[in-house]
Subunit: 333 residues, 2 copies
C-alpha cells in the first residue's frame, strides 16, 4: 500500500485537520465526534442541511459544507457509516430552529444510523426529516445496500437543496426538492482499478489487465458484470444506455450531465468521456443545459468514472445556478 498517511487509524481525523486549516473562512471541525460544520452555524431561522457517510469519497461531504450547500457533514471512518451520536452532534451544532434535513445515501448502515440519530434529535426537540438517495441504476441490491445505492445524485441533491435552504425555503419544501432530485436523477459507474482502504492495506478487489467492472459502487462493490475494457465510446455507451432507459429520459428533455471521476481517472480522460456523452445525448435529442465535470464523489484512488443525469425544470435549474461557497464547489456570490 502506497499512501501519504501516518497511522491508518488516524487518517480521517488528520485529513479533517487539514480541511479545517485550508478553509477557515468556510467551515470548522470538531474531532470527537467528527463533524464538519459551516463556520457561521447555526443560522437562526434557516433549515439546516446535514449529510454524511463513510470517508474516502472526498470532496463528498466535507468539501460541500458552506453557504448555499451543506450546514454540516459527518465523516465516518473510511467506507464506514458515521455513528448516530456523530449525526446527532452535527444536528445540534447547526440547528437554527427551522428544522434539519438529513440527506442519506442508501447504504444499510447509513440509513440505520441516520434514522437513530433522527430519533435522538427529535427527542431533543429538533424537527427532523430524512430523504434517502438511491440513484444508482446498476444493481437492485448490493453488498451494503437493500435497494439501489446512493451515488452521484448526492452531489446534486446537496447543491439544489442547499440553495433552497439558503434562500429561506421551509423544511417541507427542502424535503420535497430533495425527493424531486432523487426522482429525476439516475447514475452508473465503471472502474478500471480497485481502491485500497488504509486500514485494510490491500486492494478491495482485483481486475484483469484488460477488464472493467461495469456498475461499480463507490466502495468497490461489484456491479453488473466484468468485461474487456472498450474504448471511451464503449465506456460511455455502457454507462448511458442503462441510465437513459431507466427513468426513461427522452427526446426533448433538458438535463444536467454530471461526469464524475472516481478519483484516479485524470481530467484528460474525464473531459474526453464527457464530450462523447454530450454528443450521444445530442443525437438522442436530449439537451444538456447544465454540466458538472470532475472528481466530486470518489472512491479513494480508484480509476473509473460515473455519469449522472438529472432531468431539469426551471426550479431545479435556478437552484443549481444559485451561489455556492464551499471547498469543492464555488460560484456566484
Amino acid at each position: 500500500m502506497k499512501k501519504i498517511i501516518n497511522d491508518p487509524a488516524d487518517v480521517v481525523v488528520e485529513a479533517l485537520r487539514g480541511l479545517a486549516a485550508a478553509h477557515p473562512d468556510l467551515l470548522r471541525v470538531t474531532e470527537d465526534p467528527a463533524v464538519v460544520a459551516r463556520a457561521d452555524a447555526p443560522r437562526a431561522g434557516k433549515v439546516a442541511i446535514v449529510s454524511g457517510g463513510g470517508s474516502g469519497h472526498e470532496p463528498l461531504h466535507g468539501g460541500f459544507v458552506g453557504p448555499g450547500m451543506l450546514d454540516a457533514a459527518c465523516p465516518g471512518a473510511v467506507f464506514t457509516s458515521p455513528t448516530p451520536d456523530q449525526v446527532q452532534a452535527a444536528v445540534s451544532q447547526v440547528d437554527g430552529g427551522a428544522g434539519v434535513l438529513l440527506l442519506v445515501k442508501n447504504y444499510t448502515g447509513d440509513v440505520l444510523n441516520f434514522e437513530t440519530a433522527a430519533e435522538l434529535a427529535a427527542a431533543d426537540g429538533v424537527e427532523v426529516r430524512s430523504v434517502v438517495i438511491d440513484d444508482d441504476v446498476a444493481v437492485q441490491d448490493s453488498l451494503y445496500t437493500a435497494g439501489r445505492r446512493g451515488v452521484g445524485a448526492t452531489v446534486l441533491v446537496e447543491k439544489i437543496v442547499g440553495a433552497a435552504a439558503e434562500a429561506g425555503a421551509d423544511l417541507d419544501t427542502c424535503a420535497r426538492l430533495a425527493r424531486a432530485v432523487v426522482a429525476g436523477a439516475r447514475s452508473m459507474g465503471i472502474a478500471l482499478t480497485a481502491p485500497t482502504v488504509p486500514h485494510v492495506g490491500e486492494p478491495s478487489f482485483t481486475l484483469g489487465e484488460d477488464e472493467m467492472e461495469v456498475g461499480i459502487g463507490i466502495h468497490g462493490e461489484p456491479g453488473r458484470r466484468r468485461e474487456p475494457l472498450p474504448g471511451a465510446e464503449g465506456v460511455v455507451a455502457a454507462l448511458l444506455e442503462p441510465i437513459l432507459s431507466d427513468l426513461p429520459f427522452a427526446a426533448g428533455d433538458e438535463v444536467l450531465l454530471f461526469t464524475n471521476s472516481m478519483g484516479g481517472t485524470p481530467l484528460l480522460e474525464l473531459y474526453l468521456a464527457h464530450g462523447i456523452a454530450e454528443r450521444v445525448l445530442a443525437e438522442r435529442g436530449i439537451t444538456v443545459t447544465r454540466r458538472l465535470v470532475g472528481p466530486y464523489i470518489t472512491s479513494l484512488e480508484m480509476q473509473g468514472m460515473s455519469l449522472t443525469l438529472l432531468r431539469l425544470d426551471d426550479e431545479l435549474t435556478r437552484l443549481w445556478d444559485a451561489p455556492v461557497q464551499t471547498a469543492a464547489l464555488r460560484w456566484g456570490r
Copy 2:
C-alpha cells in the same frame, strides 16, 4: 494500459471537445491548431495572458482560461511542447491591442517554441513579452530542462497576473508581477507511482513497492533521490525543507501554501498532508494567509504531491483574492 480513451493519437483533441462542451460560457476551442481561448476574446485594450505546454497536466492550462486568469492556452500533445504556430495562433486570437504576455514553464522545448512564436507575433505587429517560470528547487538541470523546471508556481502566476490584466494593468506591470511571483515562489514534489503516456502505453518509470521519488518532475522526470516511502510527516518534511531553505523563507513571512495532487493522490491524503504542512510552517513562525489544495498541475494519473510556497505582500494577496471564473478556479464575481 488502462485508460478511458479511443485512439491514443486523438486523446488531446477529443478531451478539448469535452472541455468546450462543458464550459461554453467560459471558453471556445479551435482544433487545428489546438487553442483554448476565452469565449469573449479578444478584449479590446486588455493585456492578453497566454500560456501553454504539453497536455497531461490538467486542469493546467485550459482549465484556467476565463475572466481573471488566462486569455488562451495552447495544449501540446501529452507531455510535448506546443508548436510555434499554435502559440502564434493563440496570440492572434486573443490580442486586444494592449500586448500579450506569454507565461512559459521552463522546459527546453517550451522555451524555444514560445520564443519563436513571440518573434512571429512581433512580426505581425503584436507587442509580446515572455516570462519563464522556474520554481522547482529539486534539481538544477533535468531531462527536459536547462535550469530549474517550472511547476506549481505556474498556477499562482497565471492567477495573479490574470487578475492584474483583468483590472487593466499594462504589459510592463503584468510582466513585472509575473517575475515577482516567480521570484517569491518555490516548489518541490514527490511521486509514489508513474504516469503512463497514452501513445507510449507503458509507465514512464518504475518504483519499488516501498519507494518514493523525491523531487519528481511533472513528466515523470527523475528527482534528487529515491528512498523508502516514509509516513506523511516524512513526506511533508522532504518537501518543505528544501523549499524553506532555498528562498529562504523565514519567521515573520506571510505565504500562500499550495498543496497539489499529482493526479492520482486522493483528497483524503492531500488534506492530511496539507494539515501537516500548515502545522510545520506555524512552528517555524511562517504565517499561511492563503491556501490552494487540490489537483491543479498534474501528471496524468501519477500518485504523488507537491508543495509550493509563495511569499505574499499586499499587492499579490489582493490579486490572488480578485474574482476568477475558470473551469478549475472560480470565486468572486
